[in-house]
């Protein structure tokens, strides 16, 4: 049927915790693996978190060894700042085109000394800090980034703007020529001539681990757009010792310590009116954890959690919720109808369905457990891969119970949030599971066509 040799080499798309785990397990299994990540560093969302439930580990501590292992593993080829743009072929013989965005930095020369990103004068919103802080335009996203080599954000760089202006491709005021990074780089690593590249690779199996984003706040206009209304990831950054406030909990609007904080569960999730009928699965736990961390940071503060029902089904999760309740976090069973600013406070109108009363809270800070949705661009990628996805954009597994990691295309597997909402332990388990499926496929490859023909 197919006489081409079966390529025992894998591609993992997405460098979050699921993709990292999948790549490491395949590499440890003795096969080469290419890990493609579109942002400048691997780490995904997990590296943004302050502490993770239910054990309150620090993700920077438990995750960075895995990230470094990716960078150093002889079987791993890491490609950051790159996206998969085309896939052809079938199991054993996929031809993949990877678009490598120009970093404008020669990674072979760069030592990661940090001079450029300390001196760059142009600052824009930091993705890693979820817009809560600024970063420079030549940057590494966060101090533990892997690779620890910067990229130049060509959309915002002054010199790039200058070049575009001089070429007549940009209107308005003439931007400064800048080039400070180039002037200060001790090893001459800034490379303005570096161009985007298309790199062709051949692999035998693919793991999709493209993760999630949070539903934008604008989808729930009744919860207002206000500096003191944060989504879950933003509040993680506010709690994180590596965050914009070095872990000091303060209101973004005025820097004051918030004394009344309201956490709202199911913002968009379990709510077909807002387009997401499913449960996001992580919000109950992370909001409980955030409320607890807030109480640790501000012991005389009051935390309220509005919930529909608390879903704490993981190992050790219910015990964790009990701890949060006994530590004084107030749970209110009901939904919030609106949040709006009233002077110095945010008015939160909700219902406590257990007492049958309307509740109005004058809050200093509101944290929204926004629905998780497939990461931006997932549908486009899945379409290129030719694999089935559901209405929300999550990958449809080939059998929900018995083939949970297989997609509709043989040889392409799925792990982590790309398949549906899940927590870190499940994402890691799926990452390992998908790697196991890849290794099995490689082991069977002599009779792979036969094996794949069996349904």
């Amino acid at each position: 049927m197919n006489n081409k040799p079966f390529i025992k080499r894998a591609l993992v798309i997405g460098g979050g915790i699921a993709g990292i785990q999948a790549a490491l397990d395949i590499a440890d299994g003795g096969y080469e693996v290419i890990l493609v990540e579109r942002s400048p560093s691997i780490g995904g969302h997990m590296i943004q978190y302050a502490e993770v439930f239910p054990t309150l580990d620090c993700p920077q501590c438990i995750m960075t060894p895995k990230m470094v292992e990716i960078a150093q593993h002889p079987n791993v080829k890491l490609m950051t700042y790159a996206v998969v743009q085309k896939v052809n072929g079938s199991a054993g013989n996929f031809e993949v085109e990877i678009f490598q965005k120009a970093r404008k930095v020669d990674v072979k020369k760069c030592t990661g000394c940090g001079t450029c990103w300390q001196k760059c004068p142009e600052k824009v919103s930091s993705e890693f800090n979820a817009g809560m802080a600024k970063r420079t335009t030549v940057y590494i996203p966060f101090p533990q980034a892997v690779p620890a080599k910067p990229v130049i954000d060509t959309e915002h760089c002054r010199y790039i703007h200058y070049q575009q202006y001089m070429a007549g491709k940009r209107e308005g005021k003439k931007p400064p020529e800048c080039r400070i990074c180039e002037k200060l780089c001790p090893v001459g690593a800034i490379d303005w001539e570096q161009r985007d590249e298309i790199i062709k690779e051949k692999v035998g199996a693919i793991v999709v681990a493209t993760g999630f984003d949070l539903m934008p706040l604008s989808r729930i206009p009744e919860y207002t757009d206000d500096a003191d209304v944060l989504n879950g990831i933003q509040f993680e950054r506010l709690l994180s010792p590596s965050g914009p406030t070095a872990g000091v909990v303060m209101r973004p609007s005025d820097g004051k310590t918030p004394k009344e904080v309201v956490f709202i569960s199911c913002c968009g999730s379990r709510d077909p009116e807002h387009g997401v009928p499913y449960c996001s699965r992580v919000c109950c736990m992370y909001l409980a954890k955030q409320a607890l961390l807030y109480k640790h940071a501000v012991p005389d503060g009051q935390a309220y959690i509005f919930y529909i029902d608390t879903r704490s089904t993981g190992k050790g999760y219910e015990e964790f919720i009990q701890r949060v309740v006994s530590d004084g976090v107030l749970y209110l069973r009901g939904k919030v109808s609106r949040v709006f600013r009233e002077g110095d406070k945010l008015s939160v109108y909700g219902a406590d369905t257990l007492s049958g009363k309307r509740v109005e809270i004058a809050a200093d800070l509101v944290v929204l457990g926004m629905a998780v949705v497939p990461s931006d661009g997932t549908k486009g990628l899945l379409t290129k891969l030719g694999i089935a996805f559901d209405e929300a954009g999550f990958v449809v597994e080939s059998h929900t119970k018995f083939r949970p990691l297989e997609t509709s295309v043989p040889g392409i597997f799925v792990a982590g949030m790309a398949q549906g909402a899940k927590d870190i332990p499940d994402s890691v388990a799926q990452g390992s599971g998908a790697a196991g499926r890849v290794l099995t496929l490689f082991a069977q490859s002599a009779s792979a066509d036969k094996a794949l023909a069996v349904v």
Binding site: I220, P221, E222, E273, R338, F340, R341, E342, G343
Partner: protein, 292 residues
């Protein structure tokens, strides 16, 4: 341009000033609102029961009257009429079974299949006229006046008939800006006024008015522009100090958006019928030298 116009009962009784001001400002914009030669009650807010088709009949009859005029669009001023006609039309357009039942029941009328689009005057102003043209027609900008739009419920709910974002509408603010005023957004712009509870439980309306005006005052609002005759009635009735001395509701002028347009356009204030507004409104208008 001529547009078919469905007035509804309130515009002929308790909200005459809404109608006279609307006809005058639209005429100033070159649009004639041509009242349907024959119309009946819109049916008002009918029962929400799924099979309660009888309450759609009145609305559908009106839509058939529009079609008879060779028109496929009808304008309303009353927010309730808008809601009723629009929702009845959606039933006729989208539910074949219900359409069949209603058409069969009204055997004296020609069959109707949802061909007439119902629009509220605010939509005409936004979509057909445009804010720029309205701003261009302004002779006396309402400069410095902090006015908030109050939407009520029936222009925005349910979502299937909403003329703007359900939760954060801007259409009234956009109009107020075009008239040169300082349009103020306030959190209670879409809060319920209490609607028909005015009939049997006035306290609810007083509480609602108090909350709405209280929020407006906190946000520096000096007058409220309304689009619904029932909202206007409720807000006016419960704030009037002579009728509710102990209500504690702050004085807050309430005007139809068309009255503000007439003032900004420099039309004869007689078209506004301000004698129908609350005494607080007239006092405020005088203090701002908008009327003498």
């Amino acid at each position: 341009m001529d547009l078919a116009y469905y007035p509804g009962c309130t515009l002929k009784t308790r909200a005459k000033n809404f109608e006279t001001s609307a006809l005058a400002v639209m005429s100033a914009l070159g649009i004639n609102l041509v009242e349907l030669p024959r119309w009946n009650c819109c049916g008002t807010v009918y029962s929400l029961a799924e099979d309660d088709l009888i309450h759609h009949v009145a609305a559908v009859r009106n839509l058939i009257r529009v079609k008879e005029q060779g028109k496929n669009k009808v304008v309303t001023l009353c927010a309730f009429c808008y809601n009723t006609l629009k929702r009845a039309n959606l039933v006729m357009k989208d539910s074949p079974d219900k359409r069949f039942a209603i058409n069969t029941f009204m055997d004296e009328e020609p069959d109707y299949a949802g061909e007439v689009e119902t629009v509220h005057l605010l939509q005409v102003l936004r979509d057909d006229v445009g804010w720029e043209k309205i701003a261009g027609r302004v002779k006396h900008p309402l400069k410095g006046l902090k006015i908030a739009g109050y939407y009520g419920c029936t222009l925005l709910r349910p979502q299937s008939v909403a003329i703007d974002s359900v939760e954060r509408p801007t259409i009234l603010q956009d109009l107020l800006k075009a008239l040169g005023s300082t349009a103020v957004d306030f959190p209670f712009a879409t809060e319920c006024c209490g609607a028909f509870q005015i009939v049997n439980n006035r306290d609810i309306i007083t509480e609602r008015t108090s909350a709405i005006f209280g929020s407006a005052v906190k946000n520096g609002v000096e007058a409220i522009a309304v689009s619904c005759p029932l909202c206007e009635y409720n807000l006016r009735q419960t704030q009037s100090s002579t009728k509710q001395p102990q209500s504690g509701v702050p004085a807050m002028p309430t005007l139809y958006f068309t009255q503000l347009m007439a003032l900004a356009f420099g039309l004869d204030s007689a078209v506004c019928g301000f004698e129908e507004n609350s005494p607080e409104t007239r006092t405020w208008l005088k203090s701002k030298r908008l009327i003498s």
